[in-house]
Symmetry: D3
Subunit: 300 residues, 6 copies
Amino acid sequence: MQEIAIEHIVQELANIRESALQQRQRLSQPPKLPSRKALGQCVEWLAAALFPNRLGDPDIQANAINFYVGTTLDKALRELQHQIRLELAFKSPSEPINQFRTQAHNFTAQFSEQLPHIRLQLDTDLEAAYQGDPAADSVDEILVSYPGILALIHYRIAHVLHGLGLTIIARLMTEIAHSQTGIDIHPGAQIGDHFFIDHGTGVVIGETAIIGSHVRLYQAVTLGAKNFPKDANGHLVKKFERHPILEDHVVVYAGATILGRITIGKHSIIGGNVWVTRSVPANSHVTQAHSDAKPIPVAA
Amino acid sequence: MQEIAIEHIVQELANIRESALQQRQRLSQPPKLPSRKALGQCVEWLAAALFPNRLGDPDIQANAINFYVGTTLDKALRELQHQIRLELAFKSPSEPINQFRTQAHNFTAQFSEQLPHIRLQLDTDLEAAYQGDPAADSVDEILVSYPGILALIHYRIAHVLHGLGLTIIARLMTEIAHSQTGIDIHPGAQIGDHFFIDHGTGVVIGETAIIGSHVRLYQAVTLGAKNFPKDANGHLVKKFERHPILEDHVVVYAGATILGRITIGKHSIIGGNVWVTRSVPANSHVTQAHSDAKPIPVAA
Amino acid sequence: MQEIAIEHIVQELANIRESALQQRQRLSQPPKLPSRKALGQCVEWLAAALFPNRLGDPDIQANAINFYVGTTLDKALRELQHQIRLELAFKSPSEPINQFRTQAHNFTAQFSEQLPHIRLQLDTDLEAAYQGDPAADSVDEILVSYPGILALIHYRIAHVLHGLGLTIIARLMTEIAHSQTGIDIHPGAQIGDHFFIDHGTGVVIGETAIIGSHVRLYQAVTLGAKNFPKDANGHLVKKFERHPILEDHVVVYAGATILGRITIGKHSIIGGNVWVTRSVPANSHVTQAHSDAKPIPVAA
Amino acid sequence: MQEIAIEHIVQELANIRESALQQRQRLSQPPKLPSRKALGQCVEWLAAALFPNRLGDPDIQANAINFYVGTTLDKALRELQHQIRLELAFKSPSEPINQFRTQAHNFTAQFSEQLPHIRLQLDTDLEAAYQGDPAADSVDEILVSYPGILALIHYRIAHVLHGLGLTIIARLMTEIAHSQTGIDIHPGAQIGDHFFIDHGTGVVIGETAIIGSHVRLYQAVTLGAKNFPKDANGHLVKKFERHPILEDHVVVYAGATILGRITIGKHSIIGGNVWVTRSVPANSHVTQAHSDAKPIPVAA
Amino acid sequence: MQEIAIEHIVQELANIRESALQQRQRLSQPPKLPSRKALGQCVEWLAAALFPNRLGDPDIQANAINFYVGTTLDKALRELQHQIRLELAFKSPSEPINQFRTQAHNFTAQFSEQLPHIRLQLDTDLEAAYQGDPAADSVDEILVSYPGILALIHYRIAHVLHGLGLTIIARLMTEIAHSQTGIDIHPGAQIGDHFFIDHGTGVVIGETAIIGSHVRLYQAVTLGAKNFPKDANGHLVKKFERHPILEDHVVVYAGATILGRITIGKHSIIGGNVWVTRSVPANSHVTQAHSDAKPIPVAA
Amino acid sequence: MQEIAIEHIVQELANIRESALQQRQRLSQPPKLPSRKALGQCVEWLAAALFPNRLGDPDIQANAINFYVGTTLDKALRELQHQIRLELAFKSPSEPINQFRTQAHNFTAQFSEQLPHIRLQLDTDLEAAYQGDPAADSVDEILVSYPGILALIHYRIAHVLHGLGLTIIARLMTEIAHSQTGIDIHPGAQIGDHFFIDHGTGVVIGETAIIGSHVRLYQAVTLGAKNFPKDANGHLVKKFERHPILEDHVVVYAGATILGRITIGKHSIIGGNVWVTRSVPANSHVTQAHSDAKPIPVAA
């Protein structure tokens, strides 16, 4: 039998790690990143605190509900504060981790003040889903079963954290939702109230997109960048405004692709599978020129 | 350090919950919903009872297999009965929960009688996958690895429950599959035998779609509604027939979008990325007019 | 109350299983398949051994890292060897399982030797993601959060196993990634270094596709087969070369569909939502003829 | 190979169950008992509510502690109420379970009112342990490490439930402590404050024992019944007063056995391994007549 | 800071293991032992199959009970067979493990045939507990709460396995009960029906003890060996008959010690804390000469 | 129905906590204690590192064993270091926790150096068990099944920590073993090599006991303090030498009680149930004067 040379493989992998660190001019013991698993738990707790009966403990008694919300918040915010400290330390690896304690505490406090606002926004999103889907019977069902709502819970929490500069945590949170729903919303995007995504698989909303209120998207809609300019050194230019603006009451049907820093005027409708790279005035209806292909009889 | 004012946030969230309940004219202690997690377990048990060696306990001995099926069914049906009672109570919150016991029992009994039929249908779906995919080596591999089959197991179980009026449970079950596979089949859709979805991510099949037998779909196919009429009060009209009918032996390639209550005649082929909103006679082949764009040399 | 006739259903299901086995001329006790759950654990351990700080134990101390890699490899390779034995036995059910022990050991040894190479390839993929995404801040973040990387870790491991003829294990591994990311890469596909998939939901890469180095794909790109020829008996011909070849430095934007054994020449760019079924010379830019539909004002 | 005849064994076991039910003139589907596992969880939650920092969540923040206590109490009392309903139904199997709902609720309410008193008693027990053990450094350590305290937490909770007539639940709770500590206190025993059991393994305190305040016991002390009178039919007479009374400030050293309804007067000391079956006046010191055996040289 | 020299400690421990193996003239890779954890699970499953409603799944429905018993037996016997193979291989390390497969299968079959008998014996033990304890209210409560019954379930299963020569498995099973109950019964002991151990902590029953039917023991009773003769080489002689025989209807009160191959005649009563090393005729009552020490007033 | 007044109980419990803190003049947020659960895990890891095949991963391959030991040590020592920091902080609550980091690190390093010595000592204990128990077949069985060995693993680890002043951690570790085995060894006791405890339930070894090498104890042996002198304020004097010294080769049979700072000379034998409070010269055999009580015929 052929030998399984574990020692040898371990040594080869160690050599590769070593040279990778040298190449990136990195410390031999790189700082920890925030933990995807811990952040997943954190969002679950925050969602439970926001909607205790539906996303928390359904058996909770009426006179214990505030106790439950308080306990769950306490767990969620402690964990979040710990993860924030890790992100701060990761981004400034040369400074001692303890000095980030106060900063992490303050970020956590600022985030926590936004929770009532996040709940109010999500209530508008639930309302929009109920109004927008002929198959929906009640707001409660939407809350527990619609992937669009799951994605928005993650996004609305992550967006507040992204606004505080906690970009890694924010991204990990929206990627958790991406994995569960197929909906990929960058936490940097700005999204108004009464937002509804139906079905949702394949939706992509880019980092600098701006979406008004009462907007509705269907599956496989992309709000993307048109091109990726490079700087003098041939590197991609990062972080500039490159995604579309959708004004209030815009509807975008399945598979439509909207690219670049263009504006879709309010109350416009973008048809399915349409490709849009130029701005559209308000109250427009954009559809494919020849929306239906001709059927050709199959040869017998 | 800034204070994290948990008591204050708890109180604010309580106020929001209170006013949300008032707005919806709801009871202060809303009835429980069926549990997504419990229903996920339930479908796993039912799948294990249907395919004990492949989706249940692979180490089970031949002379214990019926014991295993019986035990697993018992667990699955007890849990299902409990979830059905919750759905019945949720929909009639003013009646006492105990009167739903008999009704839940009877629904469970009716559902359980359909299990052999569900198994037979899934066997035809497995056969269709084996016949339809050049990459498939055996029916067994398909059962354990193809997302289309996972989605159909959930759908075929959920569809029977939807037919009994248990719409919330049915929807939760298909959403579980949606999250795992990216395939979104509404439990109300009617789907014949020998159905095959390849790859599957992004497939959407709407509530009133009707699909014949021996139909094959590829990834990102939408069988959707064309428009959403509103009633006199400006509310969406719910539950009317608005999705396509696919007759027997239809094939729909990746990314095609078929919208509205139209009929795709039997043995027709709908090409990839095609957009169809009008009925198509039998034996048609629908493709894009100019299927290939022209390549333009990139400027040096 | 209606009876829930468990004994009766168990018997019916047993009858169906019996006749299904007869139909497929199968043994009454079919051989076991490799376990999806065990393989999921196996890939997690391998990923942890490849990237111990980021995908393994973030708290590990510097002087314990090689111990960790060795232990994790040992667990992963033991499990893999067991699963390989199952696949070998499944494919030759009439031979006694013990004779596969040596063969499974040798396959495991051959696979293990490729691990350093796999790590080096993944390092190029990480580099490509960092270079290719304006939103990316560091290689570390990409490793823990990008679905494209998760899919590639599964693919690159599975591809080596596929090359050893372990097709079931390989397929189960890539389906695990498909479920988590919406990216469906067949383990038989050949993919060069510096490969980057952005967003990724809905990407499908077929069994015989060949992808050069420095290639970049966006969400919902299909590299598929154009048609499925049947043999004289009306059965699909299996395993022939039917998917595209993408040469080095090709970029394919979101929603593009490339079908058949065609070649996209190096440095070409395929635009979003484009449908390509003919070969394209090097340095081409393929876009939709009329990329933007006309906006029509909505009637008041 | 010899057959493993599972069907045959199952049938034999079914026959035995059947005849056992007939012998005991029992229903074919006997009522459920309270669950040992659920009650173990219940006591853990109650202990966490009583001592939130030490036996609950040590990381809890000061401003969240009351939330934590409320949530934990809510979970504990809901579970307890469910278990009480099971005990009530078990004891009156012919009545419908729903009528026990109110009764179970009321018992739970009565029990919950005693929780502050239980905490106060346990504080005196902790104080007694600290005063009584030369090896003890702090009250906190005692709370988390002394088996005597673990046994008393279970006993003091169980005793209140025993007083409400919930004898099965009470007994299960003290048996959980018995298993973990080797200390077997019947929940019917009456025990005053400042009670301390050191080491504890093998201590047995019978159903009708009465223990004053400031009493101290060491390991392997038995407070038992002397004999078991039978009634006219030869059956044991149940539930009569048959265990000792220990007045305040009594100390009983390791291995002493005190049997029958006798009284050990206050401030008495019972020496190790002593056997006592007659009452002892206050302020007595009872030791073995010849406490030390003679050493005999071992023959070379 | 002082270095934590993990590599160095690992090397030192490796050296110690190496020299320990050399000293015992052992193979470098010693054969595996049966697993304590797996055997604990195995006994739990067997107990559930023997008493499905009380020790298995209390929610099981009447028409599913035989399915449950069959499934649980199947799991238990498969695991047991695997553990038996390990014990056989451990005891004959030079032979290949596969040849033990048939032998393990046969032992499992022989064991399984004893299960109905084990259930019948345990029914007599339950009856004895009910008759023997004034505090017992029902047989059901005894089954779920009495440590003596838990110990007997483990002992009666282990004793059958011990009789088949599977001494390691048998010992591990009774040690599991010892840890949970403080009752230490060697699986080689022979114990008749209607056996009752009350309280039980500290009971020790030696390897060659023989106990008739209708025997009752209280806590801390030892049925031990009197002395340990050595052979010519100064090693202890192993496995000879060295523990007491208790005939039918004997009662032994708490703390009594009975040592050596002596016989306690039927219907005898051995008092608490008594030390017995000589045989006792039938119908005797053995008590301490001066059972009560004199109380001495404590000096003021 | 009676109200369950959770808010009221929470408030009462808060008041009690408040007044308890005031009484003990304690901080409002008391420092954390080391965690019993974490320390249980820690000892399991250390035991696995000491005996990797038997108490670690039995499936580990020969060429991976040192990797396993290193990884397991790393996990164990990291956790231990964290727990040590908690104990240091608990004992000096007014100092900031970060200053204990270096001290905890150094204690962990000192402890880790003792691990090879601990392994060597435990090897002598295993040898003594094998030599001392006629029922033992192999050293391996003893390691996995004897409670005495489990207790000694915990004690020998805890004793080293106790020697470093880490009394809380040490005590928690031995209490974990106490709960599992009924053997209560204070970590401060000094115990030589080749130590064997048979059966073990009820053994108590006090804080200042000193035990030579080649000593053997049976179940329910107490090595205790004779009396507890009080200081001028009526408080117990703590920590003075108050437990027995057992010289080399002493054997103490079941139930014997040895109290006070006395010396049992080497090669002495203390008989079962004997009570010893005075020193005994070497080579003595101490038994009860009248070891056997007279049997009295039971009246007909």
